[in-house]
Symmetry: C2
Subunit: 185 residues, 2 copies
């Protein structure tokens, strides 16, 4: 698996990678412990500040780590990591070090303490922005405080979960920009 060479990327544009709806890997750290979880329930909520909402259930070991640290990294994997994505979702970080177990490389972020995953072409450092609905629904609202993207990856083959073990793989690109009003682009 390649380790990507990521550069700084504008946080206002993280929609480019998250709005299509890929399964992501959420990495976290708290008091020397790290974890990774596979997550499909997320959405862009605001351009600036760049807000991302997601569900992380208390049943996930990561819940405690992201809640106590108030930080995470949202990493976007592609099809080369398909098996690891499933295996990470099928295991729990209370028993194993997922970076070691799944052969992933932890890179240090610029702002948060949660590690970035080297084998993902995009990583977004996040700080907890709203906690109102954590207790009720496990709903976290994050501000992306720093974005890192390998911009040589132009049409990432991301995976999109349908449930029951079935994924949709990102297909062709379709440019309809000529049909848009210029002011909304």
């Amino acid at each position: 698996m390649p380790i990507y060479d990521k550069q700084d990327y504008p946080t206002v544009d993280v929609r480019h990678f998250l709005e299509p709806g890929p399964v992501v890997l959420v990495s976290s750290a708290h008091k020397g412990e790290t974890d990774i979880m596979t997550m499909g329930w997320h959405m862009i909520m605001e351009f600036s500040p760049a807000l991302v909402g997601c569900i992380i259930s208390p049943a996930n070991h990561s819940h405690e780590l992201v809640r106590r640290s108030g930080e995470c990294v949202i990493n976007v994997p592609t099809i080369e990591l398909a098996n690891q994505m499933v295996d990470i979702g099928n295991s729990t970080g209370t028993r194993i070090d997922k970076f070691k177990e799944f052969g992933l490389t932890a890179h240090t972020g610029n702002i948060v303490h949660a590690p970035m995953i080297g084998e993902c072409f995009a990583s977004f450092e996040c700080r907890l922005a709203k906690d109102d609905m954590i207790d009720e629904l496990g709903f976290f609202v994050w501000e992306v405080v720093k974005a890192h993207v390998d911009q040589t990856v132009t049409a990432p083959k991301t995976l999109h979960y349908r449930g029951r073990g079935e994924f949709m793989v990102a297909g062709d690109s379709l440019d309809l920009s000529a049909r848009f009003k210029p002011e909304v682009l």
Copy 2:
């Protein structure tokens, strides 16, 4: 454009169509007025009750209609409706009847008053479940109270927005169910 023959579908399984992250069309009705908006910022939040969160900004004419009626229908279009999806997003319902303008067929739902779009293969009738974050972020949480799907559509070519007028078209299916623990399927 075909008009789909939709059947009842379990609300607990609407993730199958929404979790992959397609652009959807939100239809609404209030006091005799109807509207449709194109929407990409949404997520599954709970299986049962089937909750879906989404952002509908006050800048959208639909905001007032869905807020006052407490209802909407989330319709999932495919690539055949690409031009209409863009044009709907580029126009405002204060000036036109979008069903008439874009040649779409309004079907009556079973529970809510908002119309379903006949040319979409899946339509989810929704009632407002949580309004806590509407004022701050335009964030609505809906309960899907009735789902309608044409189940002959097995690998829908949905569109997934990247911003700047560019879409990703849903590609191949990848079945990794054999790799999952049976109890999480």
